[in-house]
Amino acid sequence: MSLRIVVCVKYVPDATGDRHFADDLTLDRDDVDGLLSELDEYAVEQALQIAGEADDAEITVLTVGPEDAKDALRKALSMGADKAVHVEDDDLHGSDVMGTSLVLAKAIEKTGYDLVVCGMASTDGTMGVLPALLAERLGVPQVTLLSEVSVEGGKVSGRRDGDTASEQLEASLPALVSVTDQSGEARYPSFKGIMAAKKKPVESLDLEDLGLDGDAVGLEGAWTKVDSAAQRPARTAGTIVKDEGEGGKQLAEFLVSQKFI
């Protein structure tokens, strides 16, 4: 039996660029390059490894995002995913996590799945809650924040390293997993992979295709509201001293002056 894997990948502004908010207090996408969230590369990698162990598996990468978000899908396809689904609709602009998770859940159900794989968090919103929300919406077990994952005999298992303990988890398929950046380095697309990706199918869906109403998503449909966004004032230039043999002592003086000692 074939294992259908859907990997959720997000198109995000480059963290090394100058990220900003637009006038409507949503993400300003014009001023900075976008790319596949680096943490979702780990999700694609684990999906590829799980598929490699399975008799027969198919990996669909899925994104909800603007036109340019296709770049993120291409990257995932060039790593080795089989096909892609892009949900794109003007009404999606400004969606919060509830709206985004609703759209993703509908798209996943439409695509069909045995296993959904997510990253641990996006590199822009960084909420880290979307996988749990998807599991709740899909009504499948959440096996999240795994640093190790495997699928065998209709079961997914993995290790979750928490704050106070490390847990070994297990659930039956269908299930949703999210993987951390401890799960194993993501592969670079090969030249062959990049060429092959160009021929792989990318399906575009809008809200109507998913049976969703525009009011349910976007800025209007959001259940949260950002009232203001202010750039943090640049830190005032600190004192920088070259060590001439007394650096540790000078630092101690500073810590005393700040009452840390």
Partner: protein, 320 residues
Amino acid sequence: MAEVLVYVDHVDGAVRKPTLELLTLARRIGDPVAVALGSGAQDTAAVLAEHGAVKVLTADAPEFADYLVVPKVDALQAAYDAVSPAAVLVPSSAEGKEIAARLALRIGSGIITDATDLEAGDEGPVATQSAFAASFTTKSRVSKGTPVITVKPNSAPVESAAAAGTVEALTVSFGASATGTKVVSRTPRESTGRPELTEAAIVVSGGRGVNGAENFHIIEALADSLGAAVGASRAAVDAGWYPHSNQVGQTGKSVSPQLYIANGISGAIQHRAGMQTSKTIVAVNKDAEAPIFDLVDYGIVGDLFQVVPQLTEEVTSRKG
């Protein structure tokens, strides 16, 4: 006054500090009603009462330990139904965020995660968040349903405020999805005796410049002289020099201590994401051009193998 649900993070009855901070914030909005689950839940009551909890709802069942997240969501939802609170506050741990999100969805409410401050507002609580590696500060609120907000450690002072802390048993019926993800085994993290990274007032971190696991004792010695927690950059963690649980940054812990000392760390954006909101930042780096120096209140351009032991010695002798 309106009641505010506060989810209690505790280990076998020992309440962790971020929950006590939440009680301070909850009192700005209403009367805190604490929800403590699992083994030792009842033992949390006294300290919660000392910090302003008017009521403590407790429940214990094997499900809380044997299955992931969902049983706790079921219980928090039972508490929500029993209390009809004005807001629900949860500590921003990985698990806390997942519990909060699923609850928010079930009760038809928006969610804000990783708040760093909270105030009462005309249209409900206003949360401060920091975005894009802490280069922006936003003010947000939940515009639909009962605000569900997760709050980062070190976002408020712990204040004592005596309250009744009446203990009541919470009746929980677990849904079909509660037993979906089985916890097959659990290995508790060994305590180092040092303060918890996210809760510590001082954090001393080491990066690639520490150049080997065998040198991390230099960082630990400085940390111990200051009563600090030890942090590490991802480069140091990936090299296997220090455990991942000590990683500071975007994919590690986010810390906001009074003092952060970065040693042999360049200050990449992903590292900054986890420490930029520290009150005072100090760096030791041999490269004067390292980006970390853009953030510092005090920086030493020098070899950490010289500077750090000298600093440790000074601290020790001044304290002694």
